[in-house]
Amino acid sequence: MVNRTVTKGRTGWSQLPISLRLGAFLITLNILMVLASALYPVDPNAITPNRLAPVFTEGHLLGTDILGRDTLSRVLAGAQNALYVGLIAVGIGLSAGLLLGVLAGYFGGWLDQVLSVLLETLYALPALLIALLFAAVFSPGVTTSMVAIGLAAIPAFARVARASVLSVKTLPYIEAARALGLGSGQIMLRHLLPNIMGPLVVQASLVFAVAILAEAALSYLGLGTQPPDPSWGRMLREAQTYQELTPYPVIFPGLAIGLAVLGFNLLGDGLRDYLDPRKRS
């Protein structure tokens, strides 16, 4: 993986793994949904007298909910919320996990052991459990859930970073850098980091998918995004109460979650295949 740049350059879009292409397509779709949400003329929170309109109603392509709010504009606005939460959660998990993993892997010894035990403990606590604990301590809300999901993702990033550092740090070019008199900080920043980013990007894509699912679950439980802000999980919670009247307000937010999660899952899987030298030849 270290001399990846040598073989790069001749791979076109059509030679990339199918999952990578499909994942990239779905994520682009999600970003387009965010853009569409900004351009779409109907306010996602506007209450109208046209309640429980079915799909393909004029002016309400995906129908309306019990308050007469437009389902399409709420699903589009939900995309923005999902990407925002995913981005922050991955940002927290990646930055803290990277730092801890690189330190543990590079220095080894007692620091590695202490960090490993701490991270294993955190790993034993599922994201949802941490989020519940956070919701109890601080008030439930989108910030609380993002921080909790990000915190829960730290061990996964730290593991990948540590393992990658361990496999790279004994390579001759690191020894050469050390022999040249470079300090630990410089070696880690300039020589280790660029060479361990591949697996971390894969992990980031997979965690992004988990974060979207977790935020939806928390909002469904009433612990994530608070009303009236549109969030896919929140929409499902509200639509459940009048599910026997119309299924559409339940169907579309769920499909939106599924497509977004699928996009990041496929991107992660595809990137892993692409970066794996055994599968590339």
């Binding site: 035990v117 701490l118 294993e120 403990t121 955190l122 034993a124 606590l125 599922p126 949802l128 459990l129 519940l132 604990l133 956070f134 919701a135 109890a136 301590v137 601080f138 439930p140 998918a209 699912l213 939806a216 679950a217 469904y220 439980l221 009433g222 612990l223 999980g233 499902l236 639509a239 459940q240 599910q243 026997e244 299924p247 339940v250 169907i251 937010p253 769920g254 979650i257 599924g258 497509l259 999660v261 699928l262 899952n265």
Partner: protein
Amino acid sequence: MFAYTLRRLGFALVTLWLATVLVFGALLLIPGNPAQAILGIDATPADLEALEARLGLDKPPIERYFNWLGGVLRGDLGESIRYETSISQLILARLAITLPIVAASLLLAALIAVPLGILAARKAGSWVDLGVSVAALAGIVLPSFWVGLMFIYIFVIWLKLPLPTSFPIGGWENPERALAALVLPVLTVGLASAAFLLRLVRGSVLEVLSQDYVRTARAKGLSERTVVYKHALRNASLPVITVLGLEFAQLLIATVVVETVFGIPGLGSLSLIAISARDFPLVKGVVLVVAAFIILVNLLVDLLYAWLDPRVSYA
């Protein structure tokens, strides 16, 4: 093996202790006075003082931690503020509902995932494989609570099957109704777990089938059935056992969402009540019990793995 067991046990104990510190420490972070947070802003000073004394807030945090830890070690998690009863009893009563759901879901998941996973691996690259893999992917990316809502719509609202969508008030006193109420939740949780498991079974069988000893077994004329079931499956089952164990622990808390969909008063809904009522001792109790379950299952899975796989040396 003995040394490894001891070391692994010690590690589990340290993790468990750290979990108690983490849970206790997290609740120290509550902004302001916890008694005020529980009672609200219009509480009288006398009520506040009484609750502070009950929560032990007049003592320093270290002393409170060790009092709590001492209770935990004796199996006493304290008293719930909302229910005014023993937290251990509350949790046990809820586990009597959540544990059967988790166990039945995992059984269902294994019954679906193992045969289908083997089939997909044996016919790798075929339409059968593609179909199974796409179904598994759908099970992974679709949120379980949405699938649960869809099941309610399809089976209860549309097909009008006589399935209750809430758990009977008396719990297991009415076993038939209770079991009927658990059909859809188990189906929902089971299918979601089956999806994860299926990908794993397919992957590990596929990997094992490409090994030299499988080629040898084929070369000496054994039937494909013997090769797959006698030789390949035994080795492919190791990662599957690991993941089944890990899923069990994860599901204890993951079912909270599905419990909400189907109105089931399990451990998950207890934690939600604890949070909304700001019943901090109960929150601590539930989180600690779930964390302890996870740490225990992780320990058992690791030991089982070392015992089952003679190639792995942990000396």
